[in-house]
Amino acid sequence: MAMLLEVRDLTTRFHTLDGVVYAVNGISYTLEEGQTLGIVGESGCGKSVSVLSVMRLIPEPPGKIAAGQVIYRGQDLLKVDEAQMQQIRGKEIAMVFQDPMTSLNPVLTIGRQISEALMVHMGMSQEQAYQRTSELLDMVGIPQTADRYTNYPHQFSGGMRQRVMIAMALACMPSILIADEPTTALDVTIQAQIIDLVKTLRDRLGMAVIWITHDLGIIAGLAEKVIVMYAGFIVERGNVDDIYDDPRHPYTLALLKSLPRVDRSSKERLATIPGLPPDLLGLPPGCPFTTRCAYVVERCHQENPRLEPAGLGHEVACWVDVTTGRER
């Protein structure tokens, strides 16, 4: 399949009054056409900042994309000017945000907010945009579209608003849809509706999807490739089956063990990860997971490991081979 997006050594920092926050520290990944990539990690691990950097939506200052390249169809998005970027944002790469309550403008009708993208990017007339908006609302499963066109966001429930956000993102038929925890604020039954919708639309429209979440369950049923992030680094990546069946990073391993399952009875205590996620104000010289890791060796304190192959299409950043417990 053709390469759609290539992120190389992306580094994003925030210069705050307390010091420099090392949010994203040189991450690289690729996305092929029609592929679904899952990015998992806890709050503050840099997963959102990494995709906001790709979209160039980092507020500057305090934020700064300090290094790296984002190659989209042969063009480095970090080098294009803002006017060109606006042509790409929404049209080529669209994004759905976490909170459907705050990401819609409360004083504009739903119809107007969706048709805006169509008029700006596709040069449609108001009439054409209205037509298309009705189709889009239909596509995301919002009934009585004619009525709904003139409704305001407060007249929609949380799940419905997230559908509106998806309709908006799909308005210009982007080739990449970035979903930043789109179901975190929703109930599990509504979450199932939204995931089902995105899967259907992805298959129908052939979009590539980047889905960001802290929920390892969602990714298991949705993604082909998975990236696990910790403290602004990619600590493991691979095909979805490899990550879940054969996790090689102590963090991935511990995270999977700490999750109870709805489809299995459990009598044992939950495995825990001691300590707290790291403070990204200044990073330790070694591996950022050292303080919480069960496999730590001397070298972990001094040098941060780079991603190394651990199997076909499977890479891990760890000095220890967790299958043997010995240093590599």
Partner: protein, 326 residues
């Protein structure tokens, strides 16, 4: 189980919030029927899970049981005493034995006072310790929830979310309660911190002989921590059973849909799972649907579901369900 093993009996409990119109003369024009007649027992030493989607009334149920909201109707009998008729000192005295852990560890701790005062408050209110003994007791409590006792003079903002939740737990167990309502105690925490807090709650239950009502929407965690689980929909309990029975053989169509919607962190299992996708949203509790409240979203609804309210029936082995088609 025999009656002496029942710690708490909830009988036909209702909590309606009035909707009023008018500025000077307020007329009641309707009611939000948040909890609309729930009945269940909680046994000594067990953890009963109460699950459901947001707005189903599970938090209101927990607060009404504790008399933080006065019920519209029904009885809450705790160890033989009806809490709904208690007032003033008698109720305050009972509160020593029933406590609560709140959902949001950021909103439930007063930012202006030290954690010594936060955790010591129940001791002061119930006169359980002299001022000298209080410090010692608070340190002991901090040790119990695995926080450093030296933190005693710090303020809430100096702690992380998981640590704050531990402070909330220390406060809840300070008065040596028998029963604790845990209202979504882990939903605001990071994945790697949730397991720590759940294990702590389990350890405290063993050490102190606590009984929990565990309100949550994370069905995987509920299966792990609870002995029995009750499923709520629009102010009513639709199904109640021992946890493995409920998760392995759910009978109510709503329970089935709810459980099928939970993703499993295992790609192979995910591919095999069949999702029951519910249409639409939860209807408003101001105007709940007639008959069975779930009939508007139920794939197996029949004519009678829209007319008759289903009865609460025992299908054997302590498995209760309210549905016409079961």
């Amino acid at each position: 189980m025999s009656d002496d093993q029942v710690l708490l009996k909830v009988q036909d409990l209702k909590k309606h919030f009035p909707i009023t119109r008018g500025i000077l003369i307020q007329r009641q024009v309707g009611a939000v029927r948040a909890v609309d007649g729930i009945t269940f027992d909680i046994y000594r030493g067990e953890t009963l899970g109460l699950v459901g989607e947001s707005g189903c009334g599970k938090t209101t149920a927990g607060r009404t049981i504790l008399q933080l909201y006065r019920p519209t109707a029904g009885r809450v009998i705790f160890d033989g005493t009806d809490l709904t008729v208690l007032k003033g000192n008698a109720l305050r005295h009972m509160r020593q034995r029933i406590q609560m852990i709140f959902q949001d560890p950021y909103a439930s701790l007063n930012p202006r006072i030290t954690i010594a005062r936060i955790i010591g408050e129940p001791l002061r209110v119930h006169k359980l310790a002299s001022p000298q003994d209080q410090v010692e007791r608070v340190q002991e409590l901090l040790h119990l929830v695995r926080l450093n006792p030296r933190f005693i003079n710090r303020y809430p903002h100096e702690f992380s979310g998981g640590q704050r939740q531990r402070i909330g737990i220390a406060r809840a167990i300070a008065s040596n309660p028998e029963f604790i309502v845990c209202d979504e105690p882990i939903s605001a925490l990071d994945v790697s911190i949730q397991a720590q807090v759940v294990n702590l709650l389990e350890d405290l239950q063993d050490q102190l002989g606590l009984t929990y009502l565990f309100i949550a929407h994370d069905l995987s965690m509920v299966r792990h921590i609870c002995n029995r689980v009750a499923v709520m929909y629009l102010g009513l309990i639709v199904e109640l059973a021992a946890k493995d029975e409920l998760y392995d053989h759910p009978l109510h169509p709503y329970t089935q849909a709810l459980l099928s919607a939970v993703p499993v962190p295992d790609p192979k299992a995910e591919r095999k799972r069949r999702r029951i996708i519910l249409e639409g949203d939860v209807p408003s509790p101001v105007n709940p649907p007639s008959g069975c409240r779930f009939h508007t979203r139920c794939s197996r609804a029949q004519e009678r579901c829209a007319q008759e309210e289903p009865t609460w029936q025992d299908v054997g082995g302590g498995h209760f369900v309210a549905c016409h088609v079961v």
